[in-house]
Symmetry: D2
Subunit: 261 residues, 4 copies
């Protein structure tokens, strides 16, 4: 067909009796042999990770699964309540909020780290790079992504734990180090405790593992899909969505501007 360009994908293919993913035979080489976390790495990085890399990915997938009644959990419950025939829709509603303000913030942080210290840079003076990054952001009145948290104001315990696991699994590297230095310098300059938060830690660790900044939201998206499914299932047994929406309705007063009629 002369007018059709050759379109190519290197992800996967389904044949009559075989399925291939990233060059592996799904049935013979992957199923029952690797963990889902390893599959995440294989799909996104294109090579089979070590067991330690897999364990790090497991940890980043788990860390954001649940955080109480988040926006996503509430959206999942309310959507399921109205459309119980389509749990895929309730899950979709939950992840649509994984944007720039909340879970997607890992991308901003990973981009900042990669801009400050490009992948192939040989620069080793992380203190200087951190200082320059903070000063530049503050001078431009820009937020510094990946540090500070609304609830965990004294420090985000999840971030510290992620860094511990990163050290245990030997993926901890210069991006982790750089972000911690940025947090410490910002503390002093802003006059407020701004420790690394959970999406910051994910951004730094993922960057050290080789993930591109644009895909670091993947961990939050996968984790929150599980979180949403948990809330949807709980809603099947112990429904509270109806009360939640009633509560919301009672709390909002209607004050119309004068109509021009």
């Amino acid at each position: 067909m002369a007018d059709t360009p050759k379109l190519v994908s290197s992800l996967g293919r389904a044949e009559l009796d075989k399925i291939f993913v990233r060059g592996y035979d799904l049935n013979k080489e992957l199923l029952g042999k690797i963990s889902f976390a390893q599959m995440v790495y294989l799909m996104l990085e294109g090579r089979m990770p070590t067991a330690e890399e897999g364990r790090m990915v497991d940890t980043m997938l788990i860390v954001l699964v649940d955080h109480g009644m988040t926006t996503g959990a509430a959206a999942a419950r309310m959507t399921f309540h109205s459309a119980p025939e389509a749990i895929q829709g309730a899950v979709a509603a939950a992840i649509l909020g994984a944007g720039s303000v909340h879970l997607g913030s890992s991308e901003h942080c990973a981009k900042m780290l990669n801009d400050a210290l490009p992948k192939d840079s040989k620069d080793t003076d992380l203190d200087a790079i951190a200082l320059k990054t903070v000063e530049k952001r503050l001078a431009n009145n820009q937020l510094i992504p990946g540090i500070g948290h609304g609830i965990h104001t004294g420090g985000d315990p999840r971030a510290e734990r992620l860094f511990e696991v990163a050290q245990e699994t030997k993926v901890y590297g210069r991006y982790c180090e750089l972000l911690r230095k940025i947090g410490k310098i910002a503390d002093g300059k802003v006059g407020k405790h701004l420790p690394v938060n959970v999406t910051g830690a994910i951004a730094a660790i993922a960057s050290d593992m080789g993930f591109r900044w644009q895909i670091t939201r993947a961990f939050a998206l996968i984790g929150r899909v599980l979180g949403a499914l948990g809330h949807i299932q709980e809603e099947m047994d112990e429904p509270i969505a109806d009360e939640l929406i009633a509560l919301v309705q009672r709390s909002v007063a209607y004050e119309a501007a004068d109509a021009d009629s």
Copy 2:
């Protein structure tokens, strides 16, 4: 506040310096210590699974990640192409198709199995139950979910592999056995080879593991989120969405009925 009912969730809670999920301290007891697959089981079943149960969940999460250029993959790519600023939207578009016809079919199958053999039933004559199930369905002109496949007509190799892992991990039980018997009986009655397919195997294994039928779509939803992320990332480097939509446009002819103007 007298008019507010007591709303309760047993999933998770965020405190100033601690986060709890299903009674576990997230940082001390879960991060770095369990796999994401175990977290899936913990969130949905409420107890910590054994390592073998975790391995079975890993396998069910992996099996549907990629199957070539599926509807979901195409939707993810095209949505990302139009709205690259919001990959959460492209992922959501991908999973919105996980409905009754394709991936959600595991629920139909799991319901059929649970209707035929309730959880607390002591009935052990699986042959009779299978025969009755097939006959009832055929008499009512109902499809038998979980068997047969459009591409893998000679047998869905993924289903066989899932059953092998189920036996290795010792979760293989009477629902797996029942579905296989249903497949064999249907073969003869319908006069067409109708082996258990991948969503059928997930339905049977999940039922043997104690998952309720209404949540068996969870494995497909989580897996396909990863699949969508893989396609979105590939689209960043080797974009083909534009060509795909052009191809679609060229292939559809416009034939208006006569307008009444």
Copy 3:
């Protein structure tokens, strides 16, 4: 291309300098000449409606736009708050709840009406059809869709107004009449005032206008998209989503079952 089937659409086509929709030249015959409501009818019914039919569609599109802080409005606000870069995602989250319980209920009602009185039926004894419909539903312990309302218990004023406009625009017909009779008979049988509600009125009027039952949710979907956009815009000026989610979080207690660790 021998292996490509001929795929056909009769909706629209874009050419170099012309666009056609349903046989009309978009620029010359539609833009500036018909209302959006007429376009709704043209797209879904395939013929240009009269001005009166257009006015009826306008009314059905308007009636569900806003109803205070509904599930959809709350989902739109919370999603926008987390992902302000993607208002299409906030709008999508709002409509994902337009399912079987709330707005999609018009389809259940329209199906009930069409099952009871098929399009080509000559039966004119609406009292008998209504009685039979109610008795059959009650005997099967089925809800009767389209009647009764949680808030507007004394009668849904929107339904009455829709029927008035239906009479003014001369589209009021036997499906409207049948649903009202069903409501009255159910009142007596159930012992509770069950007047026609807004989605019931839409179902009946749309059926009288020739819309198939499967597409009667269209009016609610379009209307609620506008409602969501209104809430999103208000959130830009007077944000309350953050307070709403905090309110939700404060109202839910966490009660973990004993962990098995």
Copy 4:
């Protein structure tokens, strides 16, 4: 409750027997009395538009409803094919692609116009403003939004028609004029015909009507919801989604990088 802030909305409220929207009694003052297009203006601008303003809004809602087999139409059809029980999900999938590249581009254009000529500016030298805008964009290697089109390379006929209706309805103002001047200047500087396109015209007209730039995507979102519903309904009668996805699958070759196993 001392800790609850006063949350306020001026959009709408549902009472036992009345519903208010923007200060109007829905049943007495809106239903049957105004068009849906007027309702769009009322919801987003907070005041009742004139009949002429309503007609302009009608035209902007209609213009993007259908443009052949767009990304959104294809996504709607494929999602409906997989999940026919949830048309709200298929509609949501369609609008998730209304992002920065395609339909959301009206926001970029409206922002450019508003940045160049703030609402309260008294500057009347549109030629100078247009020249400065083009030069600044080109100097920064930025695209100029709202001009040029992939298919309609000789001029987007929809844009011209929108401007005509804007003149007829007397909403045509300095933002329309400014964008046309920008198009003409860009022609010369870029050396390529770059007439105003449809989302550019919407941006300019909406700005002249007083809509803020952040909400100009509203017209496309509402219009495309109708377009998606049209394609979904056609898919009920004349399904082509299955063939479209097969076509897509046949057109993509799988080329795995060498696996490292």
